[in-house]
Structure formats: C-alpha cells, structure tokens
Symmetry: C2
Subunit: 208 residues, 2 copies
DNA sequence: CCTCGGTTGTGAAATTTTTCACAAGTGTTA
DNA sequence: TAACACTTGTGAAAAATTTCACAACCGAGG
C-alpha cells in the first residue's frame, strides 16, 4: 500500500478512475478497450495495475466495478473529503455555485475572502468567512483540501493560512507558483496550459 | 530546433517562461535562484537549457530578458495566436470576458455555441457564432487554437469541427477525454486535479 | 595578476519509466 | 475434449529522464 507509485502511474490511474465512474459497474473491459478510452497503451495500463498491486482476478478482462473499487481502495477515494475555496472571485465562486459532482468524493464546505462585503452580499449554500478566520475555520471544520483562487500576491499568505489550519493538499489556480515540502500542492494555470499546448504543436506556422 | 524535447523539459521551460514574464528583463538569475522560484532543482534547469540548445552566454548567471527571448524563440512564442472558445457556459464565457493577458500571446477572436439565443443575448467584444459555422469560421479567421468548454457528449463532435477548420491545438475542459493523432490535445479536468492531489497526499487520515 | 566564491554546460552514471515478449489462464464453439 | 481467439500479469530489455561531478569560466577584491 505504501510503496511509492510513480507519479505518472498515479495520474493514469486517476484518469482510468474517471472513465470507470461514468460506466456501468458490470461492463467488462480489456486493457486494450480501456486503453482506447483513455489514450494509454494497453501494456502500460496492465503494468500500472501490476505495480499498484492488483491481484489476479481473471484472465478475461476487468469488471469495471471491481477495477473502480481497486483504485478507490488504493488511493482511499472511499470517504468524502472536505474542501474549502479561498477567493470568491469569478473562478472561486464557480466552484461554490457548481460543486464538482464526482460521486460525492469532494464536498465544498467553506469559502473565504478578504472582502467582507462580498461575503455578505453573495448568496450561497456554502458558508462564507473572512480570510483572517481561515486557519481557525479549517481546523474547526476539519477541512482536508484547499482551492486557492486569489490574486498572485495573496497566494503565499493564503497557503500559509491553510497550512496553519492543518490542510493536507492545495490546488492553486492563482498565477503564483506554490510549492511546499510538507503538503501536496498542485499548480494549475490556464495561460500556461495554452502555452504548453503551443510548445507541443510540432510544426506551427503562425497565421498571417 | 526540431530535436524533440522531452515533454517534461517543455513543461518546465514553460513554467520558467512564466516567472520570467513577470520580472524585470535586467534581473540576473543563477540556476539555483531560478530553481527556488519554480521548485525545480538547479541542475535540472541547467540540463533543460542545455538540451534545448542554449548557447553559452556567460558563466555568471542568466539575464532574465535573454532567457525569456531564448525560450520565446525556441517555442515560437513571439507572434500572437488566435484562439476560439466553444461553449459559452460559465467557464467558456469567463475566457471571453477575462481574456488571458500573457503579454498578448493569445487573442480570443471567436466564441461558438449551439444555443442561438445565448449568442444573441450575450454582450461581448468577441464575436459569437452558432456552432455549425465553426469549421468555416475557424478557417476564415485563421484560428490556431481552440478551447472546448462544452458538455461531455458534445466534446467529440466539437473536436471534429475544430479539426475540420484546421485548428492546431485544443485545450479541452469538458469531462470527455479527447485525444488525436494529428493535432495536439490537452485535457484539463478540475475534479481530476483534486483527485490526483488526494492520491499524492502521503498519509491522509480522513476527517471523522 | 592571482585567488576565491560563485557560476555554467555537459558527458557519464544512476535511476526511473516504458515497452516488449511470453507463459499461463479463460471462455466459447464444436 | 480440443482448438482457437482472446485475455492478464510480469520479469527482463530498452528507452527516457534525472542526477551527479567536474572542467572551464566570471568578476570582484585585493
């Protein structure tokens, strides 16, 4: 269980988990069928499952439900995680208004913003608090994950507040690049995705 | 120039490009200083630059401006790219309303949606068109990149329409997993980022 | 001019990750 | 039962990537 899986393997298993979620549990999939759905070669999928510790069940394909349960157990996706959002701007509020529905795996339980007016004006089922209460509320509400959707200059302090509250992981949408030795941090940056895409295009000839 | 760089190297260079953009061109950076800013070991940065073909300039640090220009030239980030958005929902319209500002590298030039009403009602500086005109408009307006922000079931057909118009790369925010052998495709999925984060947390003890 | 602390660029080593190849298992059809 | 067309799991080979170590270089301060 605690053998450190290659990052790429983790990422691929998450992808597989996603397609399995939207699939009948009884569906039987071969590694090659599954591979076509997620754009991963069949042998890589088999290897990933192998190193992840998949125990032999049959040599005639995987039952979607069983595979789902295997990955769920492996990464402890079974119990729902409490998530908070820092920064109630356009992006932040979209998380609060349209919570992710992944089988109830994540529950948005709180929002934070430095702007008290915003907190009071905004209508929301999710309770909103001023930013300075962040550490306390995170501790109090036993929040596991944080989404940072604040401007770049506020990102670092937000991270620190979240850490102080004992958060375990951060998904950072601010333009700042965050990292931490104690907790897991993932940076997502839209413009950078576009840039990466551009860099990966083999023979781009620019428009006139 | 055409030597195929490792994907990871490309990704790291994009990250470095990002921090350089927000920095005075005259700033002098050593590989270790730069490394701290982007959370990459110094020797990895040096190696990346080395395989990317960086020519020796000095043995006393990198000038931010020069490094920026080097990466810009390497990936042809110099001329702006035309981008369109398919799906004028919450996410899609956020791209249209708050265009990314990365030094004018990307210009949102068109939006598409199947819902004609939405197109007529929405106020926007960016011209909006019905989805069935997508291929034609993309060709006509010489659009380079597409952002897909449509529901899962419409993702595949949207990709095909974009390809038909001759698009070079797609950033897919729909829950569908897209791939293509001809053009560059990048899938971004929020819930999956949370899931990956969860999977990467070493010793997560769930709340009560 | 010489030394010292700091720097880069890069072959070579070490490590990680992917790919391959195949023994062995399954289920169906006859 | 036998043959066949499929499948998995995995050790070993291959390939890709990261890390290391170090020669060569820079600039400042005597």
């Amino acid at each position: 269980m605690s053998i450190q899986l290659p990052v790429q393997t983790v990422s691929r298993l998450c992808l597989i988990y996603r397609v399995l979620l939207g699939m009948d549990r009884e569906t039987v999939l071969s590694s090659s069928k599954l591979g076509k759905l997620v754009n991963i070669p069949a042998h890589t999928i088999r290897k990933d499952l192998s190193v992840a510790g998949k125990v032999k069940s049959s040599n005639a394909g995987y039952k979607a439900g069983e595979l789902l349960d295997f990955i769920k157990g492996l990464f402890r996706f079974d119990s729902p995680l409490r998530v908070c959002v820092a920064g109630i701007g356009l992006l932040g509020s979209s998380f609060i208004k349209n919570p992710v529905q992944e089988g109830g795996q994540f529950i948005i339980v709180a929002g934070f913003d430095t702007n008290i007016n915003k907190i009071e004006v905004m209508k929301s089922d999710v309770p909103l608090f001023p930013a300075y209460e962040m550490a306390d509320k995170i501790r109090e509400m036993r929040i596991d994950l944080g989404i940072i959707a604040v401007p770049a200059q506020a990102a670092e302090i937000t991270k620190e507040r979240m850490k102080e509250g004992g958060i375990k992981g951060i998904l950072n949408f601010s333009p700042a690049i965050l990292g931490d030795k104690d907790i897991a941090v993932r940076n997502v940056h839209f413009a950078e995705e576009l840039r990466f895409l551009t860099a990966m295009i083999p023979d781009l000839e620019k428009g006139v």
